[in-house]
């Protein structure tokens, strides 16, 4: 039987806004922390995969970390960049070619919503000129249909955001560190109906680095071992509803997350009922709701009851987005998917402090989703 790839070190640069420190420097900060965490030096790292959307090519990090001649490959997969870097790093160790390497992601975005170039998505210029080139519209339209189809109240969207900010208060690396009550969330200015300002995450800054090793190498290091039981990345199937779509098929189909999740559970030999904690992509409140079902944790429509009863709270049956997710941490594109894994590593080690999930969790799940319709899933086990 093939041995597991293990996470032996994790580092994070706080998310949010850090004046005077560029995105790549935040990445270096996270790498140094991850190295210290695993008790190794940069020269011990045999390879790296990394990426950012707005802060340069990750391989440039060697200028500061050391010119060791390491294989360092840049990854770019939208919001799934971090998940994809991790996926590639896992494969490199599984193949037997390497024993120890790194996945890293970082970013620093300007304030305000992302504004994308139509031609980068194979779209005509008029699409942007006429006012369709906004991810927020897609999110609003998608969750509007979902609420309608599954009879979920708008208030459920508010409860997701309320939970995120509540968890963020307890998280050192979170950006938003104060609670926001449900009334404030529901009565805040509407951005793209049915989503108000507090239901969206904002582009932000931050960085995460993870050191990965073969099981044999991990044992030699003598650090707490977190096993990567699955690392899967998938793109969209026919009939899915993705960002920047001038048309979508009348006949509805599956989702990138749905197929990534199924494959990840198969790879791990587990089912949703075996998972103790989950970090799910919550670009906005609606995404967390949809992803709860797409990853198999509940049926569509059950989310309303889940949120009402606090089943996805830190003390609930399946804590979701324990560090406040993207809503409280903000979204630096390159780092976001790795933040989820970082949070799970900390939770499984039992060192998450005030936000520690009770009951010694043993398994943890992450799912990151990004344009133009990609999803990456990991399953960790202590």
């Amino acid at each position: 039987m093939m041995s597991d790839v293990c996470i032996v070190g994790a580092g994070i640069h706080p998310f949010g806004r850090t004046e005077g420190r560029d995105g790549m420097d935040q990445g270096i900060f996270a790498v140094r922390q991850a190295l210290a965490d695993s008790g190794i030096e940069w020269k011990d790292v045999e390879f790296a995969f990394g990426g950012s959307a707005a802060s340069g090519s990750a391989d440039n990090m060697v200028s500061q970390l050391g010119l060791t001649g390491i294989q360092f490959i840049n990854v770019s997969n939208g919001c799934a960049t971090g998940g994809s870097a991790l996926n590639a790093a896992v494969s490199a160790i599984k193949s037997g070619e390497y024993e120890m390497g790194m996945a890293v992601g970082f970013d620093k975005h300007p304030r305000g919503a992302f504004n994308a170039d139509p031609s980068a998505y194979g779209l005509p210029n008029w699409y942007g000129e006429a006012g369709y080139m906004l991810t927020v519209q897609f999110f609003g339209a998608k969750i509007m249909r979902y609420l309608h189809e599954h009879d979920i109240s708008r208030e459920t969207l508010g409860r997701v955001a309320e939970k995120a900010f509540r968890n963020g208060v307890k998280t050192d690396h979170a950006w938003r560190r104060s609670e926001v009550d449900l009334d404030t969330i529901m009565n805040a200015p509407m951005i793209c109906d049915p989503l108000t300002k507090y239901m969206f995450c904002s582009p932000a800054e931050g960085a995460v680095a993870l050191i990965l090793a073969s099981e044999k190498k991990a044992r030699e290091l003598g650090v707490p071992i977190i096993r990567l039981k699955s690392s899967v990345m998938r793109t969209r199937p026919p009939g899915s509803f993705e960002v920047f779509a001038a048309s979508i098929d009348n006949e509805r189909g599956g989702t990138a997350t749905g197929i990534a999740s199924k494959a990840a559970f198969e790879q791990a030999g587990m089912g949703p009922e075996d998972i103790d904690i989950a970090q799910l992509q919550d670009t906005e409140s609606g995404a967390e709701i949809m992803h709860m079902a797409e990853n198999g944790f509940c049926k569509p429509g059950e989310q309303e009851q889940w949120l009402l009863e606090g089943r996805s709270d830190i003390t609930g049956q399946l804590p979701i987005n324990t560090d406040g997710g993207c809503l409280a941490c903000g979204e630096p594109i390159g780092a976001s998917g790795l933040r989820q894994v970082y949070e799970n590593v900390v939770q499984l080690r039992g060192t998450a402090g005030a936000r520690q999930v009770p009951g010694n969790p043993k398994t943890a799940y992450t799912q990151v989703y990004g344009a133009p319709g990609v999803s990456a899933v990991t399953i960790l086990q202590r």
Partner: protein, 137 residues
């Protein structure tokens, strides 16, 4: 010189319908026509009646490349919907002739053309596609 379509190959010549694309092999219909001609893709006239499958409201002025009004004094929130055209596809489109708060999923709508900026001088107006509620039924 009068108002002009925002782009070529968007509307039929009389501007009574949108031009979509059909994959000759799979029969799949989508919108708009690809930028690069493809032997496998043929133009198809899209239906002019459909229903609202979902929608949202753009409540703040977009950044470029948007070329409509962005001055907060003049910016009016606009409805963006996916209109299901039976047997064809769902087209992303503005809704017009209905207040944002009155839009309903499942509403019957029909095709129309509107200026991106109604306050612009006629000769500078760019025309875009929209759907409006079907009246009197």
């Amino acid at each position: 010189m009068s108002a002009q379509p925002i782009a070529d190959n968007l509307f039929t010549e009389d501007m009574s319908a949108l031009i979509g694309a059909r994959n000759r092999e799979t029969g799949q219909i989508f919108f708009p026509l690809p930028l690069t001609p493809d032997d496998n893709i043929e133009p198809v006239t899209l239906g002019t009646r459909g229903t609202v499958w979902t929608y949202t409201v753009q409540r703040f002025p977009p950044k470029p490349p948007y070329i409509g009004p962005t001055d907060p004094e003049r910016f009016k929130p606009y409805v963006v919907a996916y209109v299901s055209l039976p047997g064809q596809t769902m087209v992303e489109s503005r809704l017009t002739g209905v207040e944002p708060d009155d839009v309903k999923i499942g509403m019957e709508v029909e095709f129309t053309v509107i200026p991106l900026d109604p306050d612009a001088p006629l000769e500078e107006q760019k025309l875009i596609h929209a759907f409006k509620p079907v009246q009197g039924e």
